[in-house]
Assembly symmetry: C2
Homo-oligomer: 124 residues x 2
């Protein structure tokens, strides 16, 4: 049994756009208990990512706009990939999660180290 991304990913995903206020993204993070907010354009295509860590950076640096803390080069994952490949990718880049995108580049979910850690449980 080799789990795939689709077996462990979270399908509820909350996104924002590049002109969303930092405080609004912070409210999304708190309201939904998440750490990862993919940033999309008006076509729903991925243009960046903001995590709770970036909000901490905004506080540390007194950033005024999302663009100042957003990461533009996003590491992604695909549904069909095996989890060990994605675990390696996240570790290599020192990140805690990646948006899962379909062949059209649309965001269909997120896979995080929280999701992968569930596989370390006995009987997982």
């Amino acid at each position: 049994y080799e789990p795939r991304v689709r077996d462990v990913m979270t399908r509820e995903v909350y996104t924002a756009t590049i002109d969303t206020e930092i405080r609004e993204v912070a409210k999304l993070i708190v309201k939904h208990g998440i750490d990862h907010v993919p940033i999309v354009d008006d076509q729903g295509r991925l243009v960046g990512i903001v995590t709770s860590w970036d909000i901490a950076k905004a506080v540390a640096e007194n950033a005024k706009s999302l663009e100042e803390v957003m990461t533009r080069r996003v590491i992604v994952a695909y549904e069909s990939e095996s989890v060990d490949v994605v675990a390696t990718r996240l570790t290599r880049h020192k990140i805690s999660g990646a948006p899962v995108v379909d062949s059209a580049g649309r965001v269909i979910g997120v896979i995080t180290t929280d999701d992968l850690a569930k596989l370390v449980r006995r009987g997982a």
Copy 2:
């Protein structure tokens, strides 16, 4: 081979105290690329935890002091525990990490879902 917490934990740990400014904790998070900051008293004993998620909460709610966003009842782990037990604990409480404490209650490290996700890699 059943890994223990001591085999995968991070031993560098950065702490703050209850009167540390929110912005200073945010700077610690950014400077060291971490998400978890245990809060200790002047004896070095654990009294709370603040994560990057709590900094997002501070932004969302316009919090003025660390006490407003710190979590006081801290879930911890011990060096000798097996990783599957800790993975279950983190999943159950929906948290991404736990301070590792010794028998005197002093913080000696942190174990996070990033650390556990490394075990999902092939050959891990």
